[in-house]
Symmetry: C2
Amino acid sequence: MLQEQDLGHWRRTHYSSEISPSIGDSEVVVMGWVASVRDHGNIQFIILKDMHGEVQITAKKGECSEPIFEMAKEVKEHSSIGVRGKVRPQEKAPNGAEVVPSEIRAFSIAKKAAPFMMQGKTSTVGIDTRLDLRAVDLRRNYLGAIFRIRQTVLNSVREFLARQKFIEVNTPKMIATATEGGAALFPIFYYDREAFLAQSPQLYKEQLTMAFESVFEVGPIFRAEPSRTNRHLSEAISIDVERAFVDYNDVMSLLERMIVNIIETIKERNADDLKFLESQLPAVELPFPKYTYSDLIDKLQEAGERIQWGDDISPQVMKSLQDDRLNSFYFIIDWPTSTKPFYVKPGTADGGRVCESFDLMYGALEMSSGSTRINRKDQLVERMSKQGLKPDAFDYHLRVFDYGVPPHAGFGLGLERLMMALTKIENIRDATLYPRDIDRLAP
Amino acid sequence: MLQEQDLGHWRRTHYSSEISPSIGDSEVVVMGWVASVRDHGNIQFIILKDMHGEVQITAKKGECSEPIFEMAKEVKEHSSIGVRGKVRPQEKAPNGAEVVPSEIRAFSIAKKAAPFMMQGKTSTVGIDTRLDLRAVDLRRNYLGAIFRIRQTVLNSVREFLARQKFIEVNTPKMIATATEGGAALFPIFYYDREAFLAQSPQLYKEQLTMAFESVFEVGPIFRAEPSRTNRHLSEAISIDVERAFVDYNDVMSLLERMIVNIIETIKERNADDLKFLESQLPAVELPFPKYTYSDLIDKLQEAGERIQWGDDISPQVMKSLQDDRLNSFYFIIDWPTSTKPFYVKPGTADGGRVCESFDLMYGALEMSSGSTRINRKDQLVERMSKQGLKPDAFDYHLRVFDYGVPPHAGFGLGLERLMMALTKIENIRDATLYPRDIDRLAP
């Protein structure tokens, strides 16, 4: 009878991907979870899945011992097991080989059937059912492909920025002062004081250009947005980049090259995952199209939209423009100064009516915001006051500007939104392992 | 007169490290901050520092134009400037060359002198003065070396774990339930509910072994410890590793090999920084020494310490053992089950009195804690109850154990403490950019 046993001295000798006819006559030990079982009476097939793929275990009455055959019949999907046995060529099995078991050890027997199907791209149940049992949901092939691609995105970003001489930093997530006004912040009890969770590493990464010139951070950001949409999370991963002695044009160029590099790297390293997803990566060409904010407003007005210069441009509104180039990546540049945070540098023309800023869009989805930053204290104080912020609250930040903060520019790029653009994920929650939103704080 | 100007179309053509006699007669543009100025009357030396090193600017009366010479005289330390000029061989200058300025542009003029010296390993002021102006403090050569080494540590960890087929994950920092009891947690207002900041990714990384087998995370952890010591932070970076189908011996082996790999990588990539620090990396040999908890208690009792089996072993107490091998990295293994969290797997001998656990120490400093984990629901529930935790509060975690959680083991390694061991930093605050503790929430 199949009973749960400890790992003991059992160790895997081969990953599933290594099981092939060339192994010959030596015994192997494979381990993983049971992706499926097929009972053909006198023959029992178990598909065992590990991090590298699948291996077929074939228990045939008369061929393996009676106790082992009986155990094989009892194996249930999702259980974690180890199998000792010999490898035999089998054309129909993954890698052209199967394992004939001489021993089966059940490390953990599944007590229930999963409430959703594990194969296929689409799920048969709603996302909340899946998220309530996320660790099991993540065993689905679809999410495996998504998170392997996510890994490539992060590796590619780090490799690209290292070549550009950036240093990776970590800035504090518990902060005393709201960076961009007080909205959408999560308050914390910090010992005997009030504090907040950081919405972005903005002011820290700017300061760090003083000492390190080119810095980036990959870390969590926290936004208490009470929205229920398919593209907002309360906790997300932001790729934040900041560089000294450059302006917004330079960092736009950096950003678009970074994205092209990400796409090329995924093509190289995730061919199988892309095939499984039946998904084309976005077609990109350098440079990405650039639209000034003012031109877009004109076009939108021509298209009959009731929008005024100074309004935000919403995703819905963008859809009314019939322009194929707006289906992929493009920049909207030179936003009204009044629409952007205090640290964004106003342009020199026209009394600073527009600022040196950009949003990177993918279709109607905002990916990234960036700008040239103000690097002088008096200008910062002036912009803060205009936006109704109290400079006193930013004393620790402002004092740094007495010591020669270099000109600098940067951007923040939302990892989950980028994943949506790259892999056509419909709900941003599937681009993160354990999503957080106004309704969901668990698991 | 020297006046602040925008970056405009100025761009750096060369980093300081690229300024050498071989450049020849073409003009260069260098940028950075002014590390020092020396006024010799008719000759003015400016040491300009960028992310790659230093370059000497030499303005000589009669050789450069009168306005430029006057500007060079006005340049103040810490200001951010750009210099256009020609390169000339100069034996005494960094890289054997200096720049003769034809144009100087001040992007940001320092208004104050820094309250500490920038050169040298030790600072002339207390750490709080430095931390209050951390962005400027980070320009010190000493901290530059520390954070370049930190970068190597993180790169080395990622490269090492990628070779071992680990996937990097990010788990939520806002959680509903205290992982290891309710102590030392920061509470959050999560919309209309109470939530907490995660003390560790423990339960998430364990769950993720179901789908991904081998996972790691590099991310912030939050501990509301009201301690004022040189080795505690309220927010730190943890390197968390978890792997399926292995036990604590396997992950101890992984951890010690990872640390040896880190040390080798620093030797390769940070030779200059090590030279500047005049610091020897720890001498290590595989395997690291292992002491069982019970043996150490015996030794401590022999050494006259009043310590009982079941007590924690404090850093102070460890110092009373005269054993050279205790000055570097070593493991304390097989701790009393009662001293470890509920998810740690009790051993099979002796009714589970000790558990499959380890601490990695460096001298008296704890670096890492790890263990084999329980992978069965009934055992988890039993251990929770024994520790006074309510299994109901862990419903979202426990339900996963109905679906075949594999045997697994892992550890958490404190990045800042590891940096202390590697570079002999005296105060853990200098191993992090912007430290957080009970007294400090800013900058």
